[in-house]
Amino acid sequence: MSHLLAAEWLKLRYRWMPRVIVLIMLLIMALIMWGISTSNQRPNVLLPRSLILALFFASAFAPFLWPVLGGSWAGNEYGWGTVRLILSRRPNRVQWIAAALLILVAVAFLALIASLVVGAIAGLIVKGLTGEATGSLQDPYAWIVVKSFLGAWYVLIFYLVLAYSLGTIFRSGAVGIGLGIGITVAELIVFGIFNGLGGTWRDIADHFPYAYTQALPNRLVREGTTSSFADIPSHSPSAVASVIGIAIYLAILLGATMLVVTRRDVTS
């Protein structure tokens, strides 16, 4: 397994796509924080709240950014035919998938560290420009930042795994990316319709992956920002329910991926 991890790490080091995705995320994050700093929400862009805000935005962009990396990382192995290059040398397919996913999980971790840096810089800049006082990273903020980090990481991992699984199952990077993002777009449309219908329909919509991946960061950011920042509907899943819901979806995706990969002939 360590050999495969080392190989995936080498592949990652020379691949530009992860860096581009992280840069896009950080750029959008910085622009939005700049916009917020000019509004009445400015206290949320001061340290330590700016850290929580940065992590919140990292989660918010996740459905549209991270499927690009997850889908291409998996699908290109089939498109380039490198799946047979690896599996004709290391036949353990479960380890191969696990190593790739672990590297993607590491990329998400590093992206969130970079988000924290952007959040910290934004906080310092706003303080420098306005002279407003900043808080310290002590209780309750330290714990909220840790929770927000873990929550954001979890959400990023979900979208990486979603697209990775689809890219693997359909043996195509384009399908992995397209479906990975398309599913969220479809969910948003259906989510809106079901919410409008109310009742049982709304309850069903609250179990969509998108509902969980938005509820979790929303609940966490609410703990660390001013009360007016994030408005959460009362029926929205709790943080714990979101963690469990996402875990169930992850288990389904990973199970389907492993099943397909271990049983399927490599004909690419």
Binding site: A7, L10, W16, R84, R90, P91, D265, V266
Partner: protein, 313 residues
């Protein structure tokens, strides 16, 4: 440079590859039909057949990429189904066209594979020299020509110093000099005691390098044996003679001449080459004077076409 990082393997007979009733079906289509393959250790074995004959599918089954529908395979005295990781650790392969990560350089692709296989990076520079890619090692794979890609695939196949090489069309895309180098490399691998299973459509090369061949048609074995024997190098004689009809009648009566075929003033005999002088004497005694008596050389290409056409029909 020794190809393997380990000492060359001992050639003590035995089989490097052995399959029993190996079968692969894709729905109603039998891609490989009860294949019984025997590749001896230390030999170069040619795996031939027209497109779609099942060669690549067989190689994929041996490498664990494709699961057989029926039958079993053993490689290097190990069961493919049960001991695949140990087998692949001692096997190098090229399957179909060379595939690598296009955004990595040739050298980094090998470094990546070195990590996958647990091989030290020190193995890479001599291998790049061996395949004449040292100068282009830092160029991205996507900028390589087909010949360069093929040479990189050869280096990748040799990375672990394998006992067994499975090479699917290794000469594909190589220029004439590259083809000659590939032939020399295979001879060198054999001299080191390694086994090579090679499929190729360049039959002239197969004829020159292979000890034995197998020809598949529609997933079935139509012939396998030593190249020399299959082409009848020691037992086909061509006689050019004016009174060919009389000569045919005479030679057909000789018990050790198995077959006589006449075409114009040429006779084709199935007889031991060392008895050519005896044939000449027999003819001369009847005042039949041959203009020429020589070994009839059949090319593998012609043999392949004859066999595959017969197999297909």
């Amino acid at each position: 440079m020794t190809i393997g990082e380990n000492a060359p393997v001992q050639v003590n007979g035995g089989l490097a590859v052995e399959t029993d009733g190996l079968t692969k079906a894709y729905g109603p289509l039998l891609a490989v039909d009860h294949l019984d393959l025997r590749v001896e250790r230390g030999e170069i074995f040619g795996f031939l057949g027209p497109n779609g004959a099942g060669k690549t599918t067989t190689m994929r089954m041996l490498l664990g990429l494709v699961r057989p529908t029926a039958g079993s395979a053993r490689m290097l005295d190990m069961d493919v189904a049960a001991q695949l990781p140990a087998i692949l650790a001692r096997t190098g392969s090229i399957i179909e066209n060379p595939t690598f990560y296009p955004y990595l350089s040739g050298r980094d692709n090998l470094r990546m594979l070195a990590r996958v296989t647990g091989v030290d990076d020190d193995r890479i520079p001599p291998l790049l020299d061996l395949v004449d890619l040292a100068g282009a090692a830092r160029r991205k794979f996507k900028t390589y020509s087909l010949g360069m890609k093929q040479r990189l695939a050869v280096a990748a196949a040799l990375l672990t110093g394998p006992d067994l090489l499975i090479l699917d069309e290794p000469a594909n895309g190589l220029d004439p000099a590259g083809i000659v180098e590939m032939r020399e490399l295979m001879h060198r691998l054999k001299d080191e005691g390694r086994t090579v299973v090679v499929s190729s459509h360049v039959l002239h090369e197969i004829e020159q390098v292979c000890d034995r061949i197998m020809i598949l048609v529609h997933g079935k074995v139509v012939v396998q044996g030593r190249v020399h024997d299959l082409l009848g190098r020691d037992r086909r004689i061509l006689v050019r003679i004016d009174r060919a009809g009389e000569a045919e009648a005479l030679l057909a009566r000789i018990p050790w001449i198995e077959d006589v075929q006449r075409e114009g003033n040429e006779l084709r005999l199935a007889a031991p080459l060392e008895r050519s002088a005896e044939i000449n004497a027999l003819l001369a005694r009847q005042e039949l004077y041959a203009a020429e008596i020589k070994a009839e050389e059949q090319s593998l290409e012609q043999y392949f076409l004859d066999v595959t056409e017969a197999g297909a029909s």
